[in-house]
Amino acid sequence: MKRITIDPITRLEGHGKIEIFTNGNGEVENVYFQVPELRGFEKFCEGRPVEELAQIVTKICGVCPGCHHMASGKAADMVYGVEPPPTAKKLRELFYMAHFVHSHIAHFYALAAPDFVVGPTAPPGERNILGVIKKVGRNIGAEVIKQRRIAQEIQALLGGHQTHVVMNIPGGVRKGLKPEERDDIVEKAKEFIEFAKFSIKIFDDVVLANKDYVDIILNGPYNLNLHSMGLVDENNKVNFYDGKVRVVDTLGNEHCKYAPADYMEYVEERVEPWSYLKFPYLKKIGWHGFVDGQDSGVYHATPLSRLNAADGMTTPLAQKEYERMFNTLGGKPVHATLAMHWARLVELLYAAEHCLELAQDPEITGKELRTPVGKPIGEGIGIVEAQRGTLTHHYWTDEKGIVTKVNIIVGTTNNNAAICMSLKKAAQGLIKKGEEVTDGILNMIEMAFRAYDPCFSCATHHLPGEMPMKVLIRDSDGKLIQTIQRD
């Protein structure tokens, strides 16, 4: 048996390692995706007032601090038995839309586009944002930087800091929005919309207009029949901040829809001896191994799953793009992993449009920012859609609101099983008997997980601080027979 190790994975937050085992015939038998565990966050939270957690959790992860802040704020609301007033809720959402714009732009231009704009088998030194800008033009690079900056400015204004967000307190937010600040956000949101439209045009011109790329998306070794999870509003439309969690099965039928407080009735977490990361699955179907299909409990929680799980978008341009995507890809639900990139752009457009809607809402400059809190009820659960999947914060407290226990299911954890299966499928489809495993092939295997936009560190860093990718190929005795090194 040969053993191929991809370690560390490029363009992925958090250190991850892929190990590919091939048999004597050169066929891929199994693939293991492993990530390290960060220790002690739950312990770190215990003994602290629950209202402190919203500030602390922004430091679990520098990639999506706003998501943790929102989920934590909602859990703390529940601990104190309060609902924020409409203005506070809308301010939180407004912040959150800017957070999505900021993140989705980075993923598309820095992580996804290099594979398509520069090319999946292009030299690794060119498969980065510099390579993308070289292809699409300097002015686009400037625009990427500008749009991310203004998204940051909105987050800093509303959140108190662009990364260490402090806006949420139980029952509401710390400060309101002045009319002149609102006017500024309106103008910025209009720019977001134009940039989102432009980004979709790049996707059209570079990806959809290229028959080979469309073929890779639809017919390459990247498809998995999984159930789809996503937060929806009362009309089953996509909602990043609030609503119920809806899961549709592989055929598109509703499997369940539940309030955040009931998540433990629907989602179970499984432990595998070879991975620090848990494997959530749908409790009512059960765990039947790393298999896809209608009878499997494995689901995914991604931009694509959110669109699969919903009946549409609440904003006009995003709705139009949502319809175009499903019409182009053969109808709902879509199971093409690489279609996540298109779904992410639909979400970028939605976030931009919703940012404008919220900024223009008369209530956004209201003065009622907080509902007075009651006594702690001892438990709170907050669920939001993070860019990388459904994010759950579950806190237990004593009668004084001091945290006694914490459980967090981060977005990427939902997708752990799906990522492992996607990698295996890609490896099986791309590694052929007797053919050299080239850097290009390895990158195309990595594309399978990059589509999920995984973020395993949840701690703002990666381990062990080495950039090069090293691929080790071993024979059945574990003897090293080939080394491929990327600089």
Partner: protein, 165 residues
């Protein structure tokens, strides 16, 4: 001549926060000086707006290498580009690419960039203190880091040698 000393790290993740702690302490030593100090928790494109419009930049970050001895302090030019904890971010763009991208689109980047690295011991345990291993030698780490800052300020040249404790 405007110089920024930027610490990167997470101050609730043990030794990961070495860069931010050093910057906080250096700031006290240089009170009233022309040097500017700042810290951040993330690398990638977000660093761009912190470092633009400075003439010189010194980044302080942790590093974890296979053979590294905890507490070792080294400094590098951007050309040498060490693989520190936060300068290479796989969820965004690497620091070197960010600087190049900014220059390509006409954003003023520092002419001279140095990177000070501190070999760490533990960056996977959540706590507000450094690991005992690093804490015990913190005063040495600080002293060497400060001496490097002094050298960079005096010579104002790209340094190609290493300094270790």
């Amino acid at each position: 001549m405007k110089t920024l000393v930027l610490g990167i790290g997470n101050d609730i993740l043990s030794d990961d926060g070495i860069g931010t702690r050093l910057v906080n302490d250096l700031k006290k030593s240089y009170s009233g000086n022309h040097l500017c100090f700042d810290s951040t928790i993330t690398g990638g494109l977000d660093m761009l707006h912190l470092i633009k419009n400075y003439d010189q930049l010194v980044v302080i970050d942790g590093i974890k290498t296979a053979e590294g001895k905890p507490g070792t302090v080294k400094y590098f030019s951007l050309q040498q580009y060490p693989p520190t904890l936060h300068l290479n971010t796989f969820h965004d763009s690497h620091f070197k690419d960010v600087v190049q991208l900014a220059r390509n689109v006409g954003i003023a980047m520092p002419d001279k960039i140095w990177i000070i690295t501190v070999e760490i011991f533990d960056d996977i345990t959540f706590r507000t203190q450094l690991s005992p291993t690093l804490e015990n030698m913190y005063h040495q780490i600080f002293a060497v880091t400060k001496s490097i800052i002094e050298k960079l300020k005096i010579y104002k040249a790209i340094i190609n040698s290493h300094e270790t404790i």
